[in-house]
Symmetry: C2
Subunit: 347 residues, 2 copies
Amino acid sequence: MEKETAAVARNRKVVLRGYIDRAPREDDMELVDGGDVALRVPEGAAAAGPAVLVKNLYLSCDPYMRSRMRDFQGSYIPPFKPGSPIEGFGVGRVVDSTHPGFSAGDFVSGMTGWEDYSLITKPEQLRKIQQSDIPLSYHLGLLGMPGFTAYVGFYEICSPKKGEFVFVSAASGAVGQIVGQLAKLHGCYVVGSAGTNQKEKFGFDAAFNYKEEPDLAAALKRYFPEGIDIYFENVGGPILDAVLLNMRVHGRIAVCGMVSQHGVTAPAGIHNLFSLISKRIDMKGFIQSDYLHLFPQFVDDITKHYRDGKIVYVEDMSVGLESGPAAFVGLFSGKNVGKQVVRVSQD
Amino acid sequence: MEKETAAVARNRKVVLRGYIDRAPREDDMELVDGGDVALRVPEGAAAAGPAVLVKNLYLSCDPYMRSRMRDFQGSYIPPFKPGSPIEGFGVGRVVDSTHPGFSAGDFVSGMTGWEDYSLITKPEQLRKIQQSDIPLSYHLGLLGMPGFTAYVGFYEICSPKKGEFVFVSAASGAVGQIVGQLAKLHGCYVVGSAGTNQKEKFGFDAAFNYKEEPDLAAALKRYFPEGIDIYFENVGGPILDAVLLNMRVHGRIAVCGMVSQHGVTAPAGIHNLFSLISKRIDMKGFIQSDYLHLFPQFVDDITKHYRDGKIVYVEDMSVGLESGPAAFVGLFSGKNVGKQVVRVSQD
């Protein structure tokens, strides 16, 4: 007996070619033809448990993904598999589902693959998107992992007080732009640095291009004559060293990322940690997934701020699955202005 | 009219010759003849407010004093004055006093000068020594600033839990030996490192000489196969970098000192701070003087532990005011085993 034949579509994939131990390059990834994919959950997959077939619409480029390109099992997240699609956060439309929580036509966000269609066998990791007045891709940034990282890092790690002096690096990136705006809403004085001159309208008190400052410590002294209470660390390297010289007593450093160091085999040395003592600084690393109990509150708060016009959000949208590798690589040279996403399809 | 003539004594001083910007050497300090000193509070001084004339018995050599040898006003403590005696903690006997709280014959501890006799014009900074069964010099270590640093750092900064894995550097130093013993009393597993092979009997679970370990990260992996929960940082430099690779998730680093970096114009770079993120480490600098409200509790607790035989305390005693410069310089090459003090006089 022949089964009914499902509709099929061509599936393209962006795969990792092999592990690397340096800054990622475009040719570390490759667009390959994945053949035809039947547009329904295969019977074998369904037998193993509920699954959801998703058409990927938007894919997220995030710096942490670099750490999955190394052959290193000791991290909090396992490495990618060479020859398999890059994995990352994405927004998609459900094509078929054997999970009772999802139906064809639903929009979802969650961990997916860099391909046209992904079969999600752990649908409990997907979130159904409810807010219809917010652009779908914003669920990869403002209302996704980067926005939540900003929210948790600022409120849970920085212990902010009204009137404090806040410095944010990578301030036009996915996380930095939101941290800076939350700090402004909290009544702080906010300065951001970025690797471009393009000043977006995030409402910070000041912003500068670190590439144009030969003496970063002197630049920070200009922007913060009274010193820095809170540093939201996204970059590592020389900016951190300059910040350490400009912190105030009892300052806090939330260590969110060190994107300048991601591609570097021998990371830059930090020389000014003695400031931790003389300034009694609390320097704390964090990962957003330790705080998932706060996610519903985050979605409520940020959605309200956005609808009230109190938060703006800037994306750097790259078009076409094939543009993914270049978009991702650009993160590490500070090319993106705004959250970097890849649009695979509009429907 | 002639006044009654007070008894006089010869006063010797160890003075700083000039500011330095490198590791201290013996000849940066000089023993000079301070002439005769009248053995009572001078009338002029008494008119300006209560004062206490102290005969110095024991002087403390502490790494933080190095920072007062630089011409740098921005620290939490001002620099020494070239040509004037080195200042530091000391224990002495009151010779004369115009302060109602002190009488001739009292033993006191507090900030004094490296000289035979010091006129203390801020006697509110002196503490009268009460415990007669504890050696006087212990008030410079076990019951003084180093002991209090250990107490505050361990209980207030490290958030210790029973059964946790604790690593202490400079473990035979003034602070390290006490931290390690408090951690043992708290039910932790404790390993210490030092720059000597001489193993004192502090009851740690293990100890090693870092100078004999070509690969510090591998050494720590051997001593802590499951990783380090708490690192009490006294040294900075390569040991900190090795520790960062061996920390456990949610580990804590109390940054108390970076003695290996004190004499270095360009401090060693720390390369592994990305571990702060992946391990969610809280790295916090502190200064004991922020916690002085806990001092009475500290004295009670430590005195009881000492009398109960639960804490031992090792001193490295150098004899004679003239031996002070060499004793101080030895701190920075890890020569001392135990708290370094200088005995000026026994009575």
